[in-house]
Point group: D2
Chain length 350, copies 4
Amino acid sequence: METMKAVVYRGHETIELTDRPIPTLLAPEDAIVRVTRSTICSSDLHILHGSVPRAKEGIILGHEFVGVVTAVGENVKKRRVGERVAVNVETFCGDCFYCRRGYVNNCEHGGWELGCRIDGCQAEYVRVPMADQGLHPIPQSVSDEDALLVGDVLSTGYWAAQIGEIEPASAVAVLGAGPTGLCTMMCARLYSPACIIAVDVNDERLAAAKENGLCDVTLNPSRDDVEARIRALTDGRGADRVFEVAGAKDTFETAWRIARPSAIVVLVALYAQAQSLPLHLMYGKNLTFKTGGVHANACGDILKLIQAGRLNTAPLLTHHAPLNDALTGYRTFEAMRDGCIKWVITPYER
Amino acid sequence: METMKAVVYRGHETIELTDRPIPTLLAPEDAIVRVTRSTICSSDLHILHGSVPRAKEGIILGHEFVGVVTAVGENVKKRRVGERVAVNVETFCGDCFYCRRGYVNNCEHGGWELGCRIDGCQAEYVRVPMADQGLHPIPQSVSDEDALLVGDVLSTGYWAAQIGEIEPASAVAVLGAGPTGLCTMMCARLYSPACIIAVDVNDERLAAAKENGLCDVTLNPSRDDVEARIRALTDGRGADRVFEVAGAKDTFETAWRIARPSAIVVLVALYAQAQSLPLHLMYGKNLTFKTGGVHANACGDILKLIQAGRLNTAPLLTHHAPLNDALTGYRTFEAMRDGCIKWVITPYER
Amino acid sequence: METMKAVVYRGHETIELTDRPIPTLLAPEDAIVRVTRSTICSSDLHILHGSVPRAKEGIILGHEFVGVVTAVGENVKKRRVGERVAVNVETFCGDCFYCRRGYVNNCEHGGWELGCRIDGCQAEYVRVPMADQGLHPIPQSVSDEDALLVGDVLSTGYWAAQIGEIEPASAVAVLGAGPTGLCTMMCARLYSPACIIAVDVNDERLAAAKENGLCDVTLNPSRDDVEARIRALTDGRGADRVFEVAGAKDTFETAWRIARPSAIVVLVALYAQAQSLPLHLMYGKNLTFKTGGVHANACGDILKLIQAGRLNTAPLLTHHAPLNDALTGYRTFEAMRDGCIKWVITPYER
Amino acid sequence: METMKAVVYRGHETIELTDRPIPTLLAPEDAIVRVTRSTICSSDLHILHGSVPRAKEGIILGHEFVGVVTAVGENVKKRRVGERVAVNVETFCGDCFYCRRGYVNNCEHGGWELGCRIDGCQAEYVRVPMADQGLHPIPQSVSDEDALLVGDVLSTGYWAAQIGEIEPASAVAVLGAGPTGLCTMMCARLYSPACIIAVDVNDERLAAAKENGLCDVTLNPSRDDVEARIRALTDGRGADRVFEVAGAKDTFETAWRIARPSAIVVLVALYAQAQSLPLHLMYGKNLTFKTGGVHANACGDILKLIQAGRLNTAPLLTHHAPLNDALTGYRTFEAMRDGCIKWVITPYER
């Protein structure tokens, strides 16, 4: 049996780079993908720190990647060996009550499996179940790196912007300028708000967002009165749409405070604990809150927008190193060291 | 100066039936309305118990009524003396940023004024500001009583059902079978769900809801495992739409628990204190929460639906007595005594 | 090889009741259905009269039916032998660009096949391709006859009403009170317009529509000034939504004339020839026209609404006779003789 | 009585530059605006050629302009003397059935009045009725020229794009690259289609569209097989959205032929005569047609998008000359001479 290198989760705070058998087809809907680029995601850190109880010890970590198809099961109709593909973070059937409505995150037969319940992509090869749904061919003019974030963090921003129902000429506030926040800004831009306001405590990330045209105004709560500044920018009303992508101690409260009456507040962040919802204090505001977890149902459209030059995640890919250095990557990414926004894992070097 | 009888708020837990001057036009947009029917609403009780701090001592209570126009200011263009009218609970300009979008509850120049900040309708006459927006002519074939709830509690149910985005053939759960809950069921029915499930601890109210065709299934949490029963009714998924109109200790939690993934939960109730929003527990559910306060922008449509026989609040009007007995009305309504759902105040008898 | 009775299309104006082999599974996605009830549809007449050039000579006619599954192919996952099923008029894959968006009428691998390009249901057995998409289990409390129209004419009315974007309290006009017109009224009612106005030259059908609660007002253009009457019913504006289900000489023009400015006009009828669209005459009207052919993507929901008592096609099923009498049925149905709205074909009697 | 210079319509094919009295306030809702920039529009040519029968002889032509408020009536609440304003082509009340729904083109008390039924803007001063609705303050950072097209041709493109319901990553075709076609492309871009395909017989205009980033692909039907090329660009399906802004002999037919099944076709052009709508030929296509006349209800939002740099009409303003040369302007604009897209009229030079 041939082996490959892989980052394996060994339980609380423990990962290792080790040898594992190269995966093979287990079901007729499976495909095997040779990984050409993968990443480290904040969800990987959540697993590592023990806050994803459903994650299984012993699995290979990682769920954001692109690669080349090396084998397909007999029921795979759309994909074929040799195709370059972006891979969906979610495993879904495409045919159940939820999938029919686009709610692939709620799939009756899937959900977030890769790198959590089954082996993931911080490795040389991955087995992808229900491959007709999970694999998306990368257009010829799009590089592997340009497509790298399609299946997870860019899908998250795309979904958030979509359910945000952003109207042209409106004012959008995004709390958090990390990878997901930046992707949310980028996707919010697709709906042509007049103004995107980025809020973060990290000036470096704010500057990057502004320089790359992802936002129009930056605010740092350690310096700025965020609520007052946003009111000043919006004729005293507050933001038309708020995206909470920070998940910090008081950012949920900031989110509803900076929203104007009858605004939509999209809660993208995953919080460590329950938030307080003081409906009696916000009674006259008529807010809508949209919560929880990407429905990654638009990878094909996202790839078209990348191909058309309307989405570009290159500025987020700050660090690159082979799979050999993945453990260093975890530390650098978590510490946001050296301006690290996304750590890109390139193939193992023997 | 002529006087009239009126129920006046004297501060915490104190009201009295007393004499007050008959109101006159103060602004050119005002109208004076002679009250033919009014009600006692749970918001009146909230004022009485001190939980509406913005309510002013000394004002006449009441904000749900119909009447006849007796005078109009010179800038009132649409209404004229002698017309029977239903009156909007909200005072709004019709022209600001919010009113243009239908968000009349957020009007920059209004909001809930009548019976809270200015004199209300538990009296013989009322001054209504911005009368062109606030007064709606009652069609000839619709009686005063049939139109009585249009401006407040029926508008609340109508707005809730509308933002609930109910789809034909779906499953709707309504927590609370009081006046607002019953109106919510009645308006939810307009969108033809396959099933409306009413949940309350009051069997009498549940029976009334069922008998009047407002719901299809009734559940009493003191007897039924509500979550399990709703799953059984929905192929194991949960309700497609949930309306929380109870505002009791644990009904907010029940609301999100009985909702299926990617459902909409409309929070109609006003809570006494902050609720706990455990987003980490509901992460995979992708719920949407819509909160707070009616946008009473559809009174004309509601009157048409009453005229067409599609809405009928007669079963809710359980008690009738003249303004002379209003204080008894407060006690009976609050205690839900004798099956009281709504207490109708008829004109003062001299 | 066992045989069965079937109505076979022999070319222009010629059909015959004859013996044909009982169908067998040809593809692993097929099912065989024993027909318990079927109908004659106006599309069958169109084929007979030569106005459906793509119809193949020699095929068994009929595409509206219910039955019992007698065999399923190995790739059929959802249906099983013995189930009572309503059958979709459209054959579709459920997975192509169009099917993913609900546009099953535009399926890249299907469309209207049964009784047109492949053998249909005026027979004892039918082979149904892509059976997981095309067969819908009938709930136990729903009879075969109650489900009979689900797959075709009721789906057509349901789709028309849905794309009509009917708002509560609005005024809806339906031109044509034949089977499809009546189903359109019935489904329009699901969205709670204040008024449904039925227009037809056949007083008997208008009376039936009114008696069964499918409309509120009836107009007969041979007697009534339809445009003037509709304006009188709508404050002088015209109908908010118009459904053209007549397809007669001047009904297209009537449709846009009776519509108010910025109305939606749904064109359900199939016309024999091109219509004149005088955009210069209707410039200020800002009308939306929605055209052509049902997307029968909601059979499951329609069955739920029948089960819930919200849809009921019993009044349309005016005539019943065994397959033996199908040729008489064609003549009676076409002539609308004896008040015939729908001719129901019951099983062959030996 | 002071006089001013003005272009007056003298009947079929006759205009003259002449002296007219400077207008004064006639109603308390009026304002007087000193024109700083105006244009010649194709609708002016339609009047001149006699194809707008409702146009009155003797009126001053022109309906697209910006200026400075010089007087306001006593009921004008929002505007004040000295403000720079963009002016709405449509006169509307803001309060009738249609205006409440955003259908300002159908206003019960207005419509297209300026330069058609009442004196227009090819003059030094204009009286604007219902000025609170019709005048929009120009943000300080936006020049008069940048705001010049807001009230008419840019509103038309904005409205067309909005009702086109363009989805991100879709394929949009625009027939016609004249001023309205270019504005439609510009506004379609706000919704982030993957591809905008411009179709025109004028290579110069196509090149301008491409160079200014308003489209991605250009097709010239005198050279290209437009239908085949668009299919090739869309996986064989056709355009997701089609905007017909050409109004030429066969462009209506091209519009529905290049649309994919279940597409939306927006008919922006005004045709000289009725079009043929062969519904029998397009039965399986399920097309939606949206017709006729701008609802110019978003001037404030358009100004915000110009301020934000998301809309820019500078490339359309190819020619500039004082009011003295307006008659030359008519000839040059109609002949599209010297690459003329829009002819800008600057103030009269004495």
